[in-house]
């Protein structure tokens, strides 16, 4: 019986790690996720303000209950407490604000075929999937569930897996919500070192994307009637796995702004 349980735990561990690997070509030995599709690398759904803060937006299915929402909020608040370092602010998506975005930077959704619990970020970087068992566990193990979500939020900032003790990006030994094993989770929140690593990985993904897979161009836009912004777009082509590429915005930087006749 004990052996069967051990096998089950190993199986779950393997499954969870395996699913994380889907979106993490660089892992364990590297700190960055390495995907140009990381949510923070796209301003689709988000925006960058003049203070350099990258606002990454998320949406939650309307049917999700208050407990999982609270866990998401806790994980978001943990990371947002590090905004001064990461220059990233997670916030709920508001249609049409501050521009014409029609969808969030990424959306939470239920998923995870083949896994018992846990979560992962899909390869396109636009979906953060939580297993139904994890969602169900949010009431009893709110801190632990928030840790799993915080780990996945790290991926949206291009953070990869880590083996550093105390890092939220360390792959848990296992996540088994059915056997109460999740109760052994430390409920770690992002450390300052995680935030420092995130800042580096964000910078890396933006720079790499522009340098190797796309480009940057500046233009004048009018985000409001009679008032202009001179902005620089940094963008990249991301392979879609079918021989083609899709174009993503990595950054929109406001270089100058004013009202009336634009000088550029």
């Amino acid at each position: 019986m004990q052996m069967m349980r051990l096998r089950k735990v190993r199986s779950v561990t393997f499954t969870l790690v395996g699913l994380c690997i889907l979106g993490s070509p660089i892992r364990l030995t590297a700190q960055c996720w390495g995907e140009a599709s990381a949510a923070v690398a796209r301003t689709n759904g988000g925006y960058v303000t003049g203070d350099g803060i990258r606002h990454v937006t998320y949406s939650i299915p309307s049917g999700w209950g208050s407990e999982i929402r609270a866990a998401i909020e806790a994980a978001v608040n943990d990371w947002n407490s590090k905004t001064s370092t990461t220059k990233v602010q997670f916030e709920p998506f508001q249609p049409g604000f501050p521009n014409a975005n029609s969808a969030a930077s990424f959306q939470f959704e239920m998923g995870g075929t083949g896994m018992n619990c846990g979560g992962y970020v899909a390869g396109d970087g636009q979906r953060l999937r939580l297993h139904s068992n994890l969602i169900s566990a949010a009431g009893q193990y709110s801190g632990q569930v928030a840790q799993v979500i915080g780990h996945e939020l790290g991926h949206t900032m291009n953070l990869g897996e880590s083996t550093d003790v105390g890092s939220i990006m360390t792959v848990p030994g296992y996540v088994d919500c059915n056997s109460n094993a999740i109760s052994s989770f430390p409920g770690t929140s992002p450390s300052q070192n995680d935030a420092n690593n995130a800042a580096g990985c964000i910078n890396q993904i933006v720079q790499q994307g522009a340098q190797y897979n796309g480009g940057e161009q500046s233009t004048t836009e009018w985000p409001l009637c009679e008032c202009w912004e001179y902005v620089r777009y940094i963008y990249a082509y991301v392979a879609n796995g079918q021989g083609g590429y899709s174009l993503y915005v990595l950054d929109r930087i406001v270089l100058d702004s004013g009202c009336g006749t634009p000088p550029y």
């Binding site: 301003t43 689709n44 759904g45 049409g96 501050p98 521009n99 014409a100 975005n101 029609s102 969808a103 790499q208 340098q211 190797y212 897979n213 796309g214 480009g215 161009q217 500046s218 233009t219 004048t220 836009e221 009018w222 985000p223 409001l224 009637c225 009679e226 008032c227 202009w228 777009y233 963008y235 082509y237 392979a239 879609n240 021989g243 083609g244 590429y245 899709s246 174009l247 993503y248 915005v249 634009p262 550029y264």
Partner: protein, 248 residues
């Protein structure tokens, strides 16, 4: 390893080969080495071989020479529509639409790279489309990869491309490109293209118009930063006038 390959190829800017095909002005990159450390004579020889390969076998053949082939061109050149009336009457399809997704393609002739955008039609101002329809807008520029790992890219300078999630007024016509069967199959009906490159794209932000044309172009001066309602009303007025005076 991947980075070193990228570092090797990122410096590659090839110019001159595609101007007659794309009707764009190719921007010269004088003095830029194809590979750092290589002599100007060696560069010239590679350029010649690659241009020759392009003329014979398109982007795939050209990319095979060094692993990549990048063409840079201006998206603002050659805009000859100086009035909204001209732009409207020469565009059989005009819509307000949202960019839903995009994907790059190599055309059937192998000598043109485009990015196809799926557009969700919010409002039709002219043509057969209706609100709620989807259409495909094909815009010059993009990147494609080949089986041998090589790739080719067309960079359109001076024109920030449309991005997913953005909202536009679009002036369109049937594409003059030669889409391949896969590209046609993936398209939402007939493939359309901007009627007059940058002049055909008007981004809408919070009710204000952001033309893609240079800010000093008459149409950009007329509608840049103005309420989108003004642009839409003017287009609808011209379309109505066109119906009443079809031979104008």
């Amino acid at each position: 390893m991947r980075h070193s390959i990228f570092a090797l190829v990122v410096a590659v800017i090839v110019v001159g080969a595609a101007e007659p095909l794309f009707h764009f002005t190719v921007t010269a990159q004088q003095g830029q080495r194809l590979v750092p450390g290589r002599s100007a004579a060696e560069d010239a020889e590679i350029r010649r071989r690659r241009d020759d390969a392009y003329n014979k076998g398109g982007f795939k053949a050209a990319a095979a020479i060094t692993g990549s082939y990048v063409v840079a061109m201006s998206g603002q050149h050659g805009n000859n529509a100086t009035s909204l009336a001209f732009l409207t009457t020469h565009s059989p399809v005009i819509v307000v639409g949202n960019v839903v997704s995009n994907r790059t393609w190599l055309n059937a002739s192998g000598n043109e790279i485009t990015t196809d955008y799926e557009i969700f039609v919010e409002q039709s101002l002219k043509g057969a489309y209706r609100a709620g329809d989807s259409l495909t807008m094909s815009v010059i520029g993009g990147k494609v990869g080949f089986e041998d790992g090589s790739w080719a890219e067309v960079r359109v300078n001076n024109l920030v491309p449309p991005f997913t999630g953005e909202r536009y007024v679009l002036f369109l016509r049937p594409t003059a490109s030669n889409p391949g069967p896969e590209q046609r199959k993936a398209a939402r009906g007939p493939i359309l293209s901007p009627s007059f490159q940058a002049l055909s794209l008007y981004k809408l932000m919070n009710g204000a118009v952001s033309p893609k044309a240079f800010t000093k172009h008459p149409l950009a001066v007329a509608y840049g930063g103005k309420p989108e309602r003004r642009l839409l009303d003017d287009v609808l007025s011209i379309v109505e006038d066109e119906k009443e005076h079809p031979t104008r």
